[in-house]
């Protein structure tokens, strides 16, 4: 946060607004020194936003990009697309036209105001992304004999039982030392309302609890219109299901309502940013060396289409190359900067898209969007938030893996990933999942040629030792990207980092 934007931010804070973001509007840079130029390395969101804002400020801008498309990790794989991962496996995506997998980012929190701002400015249509769906399922191999249960039933029973137990703690004088008798009465009333307890503070079968967890026989019309309440589940099994972890995940600020996605795939954002910087980008450019000799920045790159080695030169440079790759490039920067670049490893993740003939989860299970969770290595499956209530085919996100499971999946061939994921996910929809499958696609981030991983993996120690050095302007170069932010792994981090970087680089240029 710098100068005017900080003042505005503080002013808004006083009014009780804007605590959800550091974004205070676009930077409004102007008055670039006559003839000054900037070389941007990487046409991901950070690089393209840097180019957009610096060109507006009056700089001559050129972007070098390794891929043959703009967007970087902002990317959708559509039916008909071809993707070759490291190791040489090529997938031709067999989805129906318009269907897609978002291999990287796939949802946008409502408070990612930078991204939302530029989506609107650049004409990206958004639609709601369903994160929390009460009708979606929770599967744990150690609960309910391995049978997936609706989140609705589990979360209702979890909260009802917790409320009842806390009520008992009050009745057993367990809270006497912390609350006055009056406050204990208030808390009991709160528990009764929140946990749907009966007049005796019990969470029991009845209309009251069924209004949340659902009825055995739902309300109807005519002769059999009266509803029949359902039985709460045994609390021990509810605990074993791990539903509390799912509840908690939905509560985090990253996943709270409202979330968005672009209509037609996350890659629409990269395409829209690409339009804004059209003509500035040299694609298929593999950077091999970055020099700061002679009062300029010179990048040596190989045109991967022709093999020709070329140079690009400018007064300044915004470098958004992921650190795992940048650490392998001959870079003329301070020892501290080089150490910082080398100190941050990249996490891994694997996503697999599974196209199904029909949207059976909607038609048969009344699951419209949202996520079903499992303790199997696929960790979750997510139902499409776009095109709801249409006829198929639709694409389910069949796996979103982290940690150990992501390495295991990344080590498989694309075909094997799809087979394995189908098998594991069929626990949610037996008799349908494998049977309705038409086509699969997968991206293992450890094998993505332009990142060598998913995102920067900072920890408290590396933040302390290297972060400020990494984000500082190093003579004529400044780094930007999600790795240069505290909103790691999110597009918002890339954009905020980019705005901060160009603001400081512009200041540096004006002081030169």
């Amino acid at each position: 946060m710098i100068g005017g934007s900080l003042a505005l931010y503080q002013a808004m804070e006083v009014l009780g607004h804007a605590k959800e973001t550091q974004f205070a509007g676009p930077p409004k840079l102007s008055g670039a020194p006559a003839g000054a130029s900037v070389l941007v390395l990487g046409a991901g969101l950070a690089g393209m936003l840097a180019a957009f804002e610096l060109r507006k400020a009056g700089y001559k801008v050129q972007i070098l990009e390794y891929n043959n498309r703009p967007g970087g990790r902002n990317w959708s794989l559509y039916g008909g697309d071809t993707y070759t991962e490291l190791g040489g496996e090529t997938q031709k995506v067999g989805f129906a036209p318009g269907n897609y997998l978002n291999p990287g980012p796939w949802r946008i929190p409502y408070h990612h105001r930078t991204l939302l701002h530029y989506c609107k400015a650049f004409g990206v249509a958004l639609e709601p992304f369903i994160q929390l769906n009460h009708q979606a399922l929770v599967h744990n191999s150690k609960a309910f004999g391995g049978k997936p249960m609706p989140y609705r039933d589990l979360s209702a029973d979890f909260e009802g039982n917790v409320a009842e137990l806390l009520g008992k703690a009050i009745d057993n004088r367990g809270l006497d030392s912390q609350f006055s008798a009056e406050d204990q009465d208030k808390l009991k009333e709160a528990l009764r309302t929140w946990g749907l307890l009966d007049k005796d503070m019990r969470y029991v079968k009845g209309n009251r609890s069924s209004r949340r967890r659902g009825f055995e026989r739902p309300s109807g019309g005519g002769v059999d219109g009266s509803p029949i309440p359902s039985d709460p589940l045994p609390f021990k099994d509810v605990l074993d299901s791990g539903v509390w972890a799912v509840i908690s995940q939905h509560m985090s600020i990253d996943h709270q309502t409202t979330m968005f996605q672009p209509v037609g795939g996350m890659g629409m954002i990269g395409k829209a940013f690409g339009k804004q910087v059209e003509g500035l980008v040299t694609f298929n450019a593999k950077v091999t060396k970055i020099s700061q000799a002679g009062g300029a920045v010179t990048a040596t790159y190989t045109d991967t289409a022709t093999g020709a080695v070329k140079e690009a030169k400018a007064d300044y440079c915004v470098c958004t190359i992921p650190l795992g790759i940048l650490s392998q490039i001959e870079l003329d920067a301070s020892g501290g900067m080089l150490a910082a670049i080398a100190a941050v490893p990249y996490s891994n993740s694997v996503k697999v898209g599974l196209e199904m003939k029909t949207r059976f989860w909607e038609e048969e299970n009344a699951i419209y969007g949202g996520i079903s969770f499992t303790d199997r290595p696929i960790s979750m499956i997510s139902y499409p938030s776009g095109g709801m209530h249409s006829d198929g085919p639709g694409v389910i996100l069949g796996a979103y893996t982290f940690g150990a499971a992501s390495y295991k999946f990344a080590g498989m061939s694309p075909d094997e990933r799809v087979r394995t994921v189908l098998e594991m996910g069929s626990v949610f929809h037996p008799g349908r999942y494998k049977e309705q499958f038409t086509a699969g696609a997968s991206v293992a981030w450890s094998r993505v040629p332009y990142t060598l991983g998913c995102c920067a993996q900072w920890n408290e120690e590396t933040r302390e030792e290297h972060y400020q050095t990494l984000v500082a302007v190093d003579d004529r170069i400044v780094l930007a990207g999600e790795h240069a932010s505290y909103i790691g792994c999110w597009m918002e981090g890339a954009l905020l980092s980019s705005l901060d970087a160009v603001t400081r680089l512009h200041k540096r240029a004006l002081e030169a």
Partner: protein, 130 residues
């Protein structure tokens, strides 16, 4: 880690690597973890950057170097101390040093043991991710 590996093995037979009669305990670790990047044939790969080939790699001659890399990470490669046990780390290094065209497990350093990992390995970060 072990729970995940077990459940994965049930659903997905490991990709066939050249198998000795009694599989080396490091082979399974290699398949479950290392080949995500270094590839089943240990040849690595080249894109915008490079994933090091472990096949016929002279840096494996002495165990200390691979121990420091696997425990502490290097560049884009994360640390695996704490993700894998010292025994698993020893097994997989021993496996790679004796396979993929490497014959270092008979040379200096010999067999890599968990004790060697404990002695010269890099400690995992003690404070959380951020």
């Amino acid at each position: 880690m072990r729970i995940l590996i077990l459940s994965l093995l049930i659903a997905a037979p490991a990709i066939a690597a050249p198998k000795p009669a009694v599989p080396h305990p490091g082979a399974e670790v290699y398949q479950n973890v290392c080949q995500a990047c270094h590839m089943a044939n240990a040849m690595g790969a080249v894109g915008a950057g490079r994933i090091t080939a472990l096949a016929r790699n002279p840096n494996l001659q002495y165990p200390e170097y691979p121990i420091s890399v696997v425990t502490g990470g290097k560049g884009a490669m994360p640390w695996f101390r704490g993700q894998l046990t010292d025994q698993e780390i020893a097994d997989v290094i021993d496996y790679v040093r004796g396979n993929f065209g490497n014959r270092y497990n008979k040379g200096p350093g010999g067999k890599v043991t968990a004790a060697m990992v404990a002695e010269s390995g890099v400690a995992a970060p003690t404070r959380g991710e951020r």
